[in-house]
Assembly symmetry: C2
């Protein structure tokens, strides 16, 4: 099948410096972090505001793309499962999915809570969390 | 910034044949569809089961990657917004996010409900919807 090229639109700035220090999910103790957009993507980010609930898609650049089965949550007592049944960062296309809340926005930069990605993680896309159908 | 190569792991089979026929979101009237994994990724998909709630990440291959602002839901009465504040398929990295339910699984193929992607859409990743922290 054809492959495609993704290009980061922003980068994470976080006190989390490596995978071993990062919580497994953003609601498991992530510190506040910043999302710094590349200047050419400022127009796409121009309407993001404090209070917005967003989905960030990141590129988990330290992942092992050859891994297809893992022990869930790295627990050897749990049987190995196909990675599509897990949230392991090691997977064929290591795209991270994070739900965050914006606490400050301006100058092409967001401050967010709930982001467990490590410092330097590339951001591929940002989307609003969807509300009910009637409010879209 | 460095760019990265994504490689589809599966493809959507759906009666939806073009963007104009597709609902805007999967909970707005999508028909049942199939997700057919490439043989080399069958191990990663081996533990997916009927009843699983999954997030599918797709590549919206007909999107315009140069677009940075749109009228939300293509409604000209709504002011243009930066695409990161919208779910427009036209965006710098056109990765689609879909929450689906598996109704059948086997032979490297899933049948799912709630998928509004058109026939032939490449699938980049599959993840379980996360439950509460204690159940992970």
């Amino acid at each position: 099948m054809t492959s495609y090229e993704v290009r980061p639109v922003a980068r994470v700035e976080s006190p989390l410096q490596d995978r071993t220090a990062a919580p497994r999910q953003g609601d498991e103790g992530a510190p506040p972090a910043r999302v710094v957009f590349a200047p050419e993507f400022h127009p796409a980010a121009a309407d993001l505001r404090p209070g917005d609930r967003l989905v960030l898609l990141t590129w988990l650049h330290e992942a092992d793309r050859e891994v297809q089965a893992v022990h869930p949550r790295s627990d050897p007592a749990r049987p190995r499962e196909g990675v599509f049944s897990t949230r392991s960062p090691d997977r064929p296309n290591p795209i991270g999915l994070h739900t965050v809340t914006v606490t400050a926005a301006g100058n092409g930069t967001l401050t967010v809570t709930g982001l467990e990605a490590i410092d330097g993680t590339p951001v591929l896309d940002v989307k609003p969390v969807l509300g009910e159908v009637a409010a879209r």
